[in-house]
Amino acid sequence: MSKVIIFAENFDGKFKKATFEAVAYGAEIAEKTGGEAVAVSIGKVSNDELASLGDYGANKVLSITHEALEMLDARVYARVIAQAVEKEGADVLIFTVSNASKAIAPRVAVRLQAGMVYGASGLPTCFNPFTVPKKVFHGKAFADVVINSEKKVISLAQNSFGVVMNKKEAGIEQMDATIDTGLIRSKVINIEKSTGKVLLNDAEIIVSGGRGMKGPDRWKPLEELADTLGAALACSRPVSDEGWRSHTEHVGQTGKIVAPNLYLAFGISGAIQHLAGVSSSKVIVAVNTDKDAPIFASADYGIIGDVHTVLPRLNEALKKFKAEN
């Protein structure tokens, strides 16, 4: 029987898809082992929003608020989560792979002497021994990892379980945590955030450009396509290295790892490092002049052609399609 705690991260008071997915995943582990799923929320979140975690299988939501928790301090957050684990007597902890989760989860694992699997690619394949599948070498292989410790920490790779509805009436409980504010040695002096843009990690569709776009001033048709599809924009490494686009748009092994439903690659040859960052996409479309480009081996649909010939046609046809559907 597993008592599962899921760290339910909020972004400005709202949960995102990845959080719901982690809750659904944790709830499934709890159900399979006859246990219970408890979501832990840190920071100010409305009761309605907290209750929505029940839609994905949380039996209970613990809400912890404190002014010292308004800024992320991983050391402090880890201690707070460890207190929740102790209070609940939990033995399995689920995180997402967000920036904050990356900072907090390993610290919680050390505090709890828990073995940790980062980037789980699905449910445990076995509960005794507790075996979790994950990608290694950025998807070039999969590994089965056995966690030998009593307590277990899993960070779930995005889009690897699904946002599965599993309606429960989640009771909301406020939890008081002991917080040592003396541990906080840093302060946020500025926040720069773009608004209104679809973020790469949230995007269902990503439109991506490579060297085949031929220059930084030729991105308009790609931006138009992203607008029509409600997609996020991305680029390959040479494009960000050349400064054509910001490095925040770089997807690939050393950039962002993404897993959208649809990834459209324009003028990207598909170097192995690029594919490592996009191979979890459900459907990949590639447009490239070179019929032998490696991207076609990983793509589901392909067009051989120049991006600047194909993009205007695609933009026009898609607008027509959107108007009719």
Partner: protein, 249 residues
């Protein structure tokens, strides 16, 4: 100021990855080993800071947990410009074990900044830096894409959804760094390679510890179905396929 960079020795990112016949390991025969790309960027940034006018960085140390075969990778880090290197003489069994070994090796060494890459390109763990910070009970900042030092003040950019925060922090602390921290990794010069031969590379014995996880089996991904080609003149067909077949738009 003393900076430590934790380095992982990984197969070159273009390596073809295949499980061995018994599926208990990855076949790493004839692999070209490199410094994990994020760790290499961390080292590059540390060197840039040390080279800057008015820098107060006295020493840059690189450390890895690994058996003797990892020494060429440490020598490369020395050739790039690190002042000395430490090798904890143990195979890095899992993230918990490895972070513990690093913590034991650096306790009492009073590093002001410890840099770790955000993930290693082999086991894709993304846990080591955070675990190390916790073992050392130090503050840590993750997802760092920029790091500057002005006097005693360290300022970093921490990536968040849709942007970044500028964070000022006291030292000592652990920075877990990602893309953006340095533009291009530094390439060792001939002089650097010559000097690296005589720079100190200290081997320390591991502390007693057990890993908490074990990698028991490896599989290759399922082969992908052939790509369906659509004529460039007929983009409507692509839309049709995405709508009716893939049901994705």
């Amino acid at each position: 100021m003393k900076i430590l960079i934790c380095i992982s020795n990984v197969p070159d990112t273009t390596t073809k990855i295949k499980p061995t016949a018994d599926q208990k390991a990855i076949d790493l025969a004839n692999v070209q080993w490199i410094i994990n790309p994020w760790d290499e960027l961390a080292l590059t940034r540390a060197l840039e800071l040390k080279d800057a006018a008015g820098s107060n960085i006295e020493k840059i140390t690189v450390l890895t947990v690994g058996e003797k075969i990892v020494e060429p990778t440490l020598r490369k880090a020395l050739a790039i410009g690190a002042d000395d290197a430490v090798r904890v003489d143990a195979a890095p069994k899992d993230n918990f074990y490895t972070a513990f070994q690093i913590a034991e090796a650096v306790k009492g060494q009073s590093y002001d900044i410890i840099l770790c890459g955000i993930e290693s390109s082999d086991y894709n763990g993304s846990a080591l830096g955070g675990m190390l910070a916790e073992f050392l009970d130090l503050p840590g900042i993750s997802s760092v894409s920029k790091l500057d030092i002005e006097g005693d003040t360290v300022r970093v950019n921490r990536e968040i959804a849709g942007g970044f925060e500028v964070v000022e922090t006291e030292t000592p602390f652990v920075a877990i760094v990602q893309k953006g921290i340095a533009k291009e990794p530094r390439i060792p010069s001939m002089r650097g390679i010559m000097m690296a031969r005589t720079k100190p590379l200290n081997v320390v014995a591991p502390a007693p510890a057990e890993p908490l996880t074990s990698f028991v089996a490896y599989h290759s991904p399922k082969p992908k179905a052939a790509c369906k080609m659509v004529d460039a003149e007929n983009v409507e067909e692509l839309i049709n396929l995405l709508h009716n077949e893939a049901k994705i738009i």
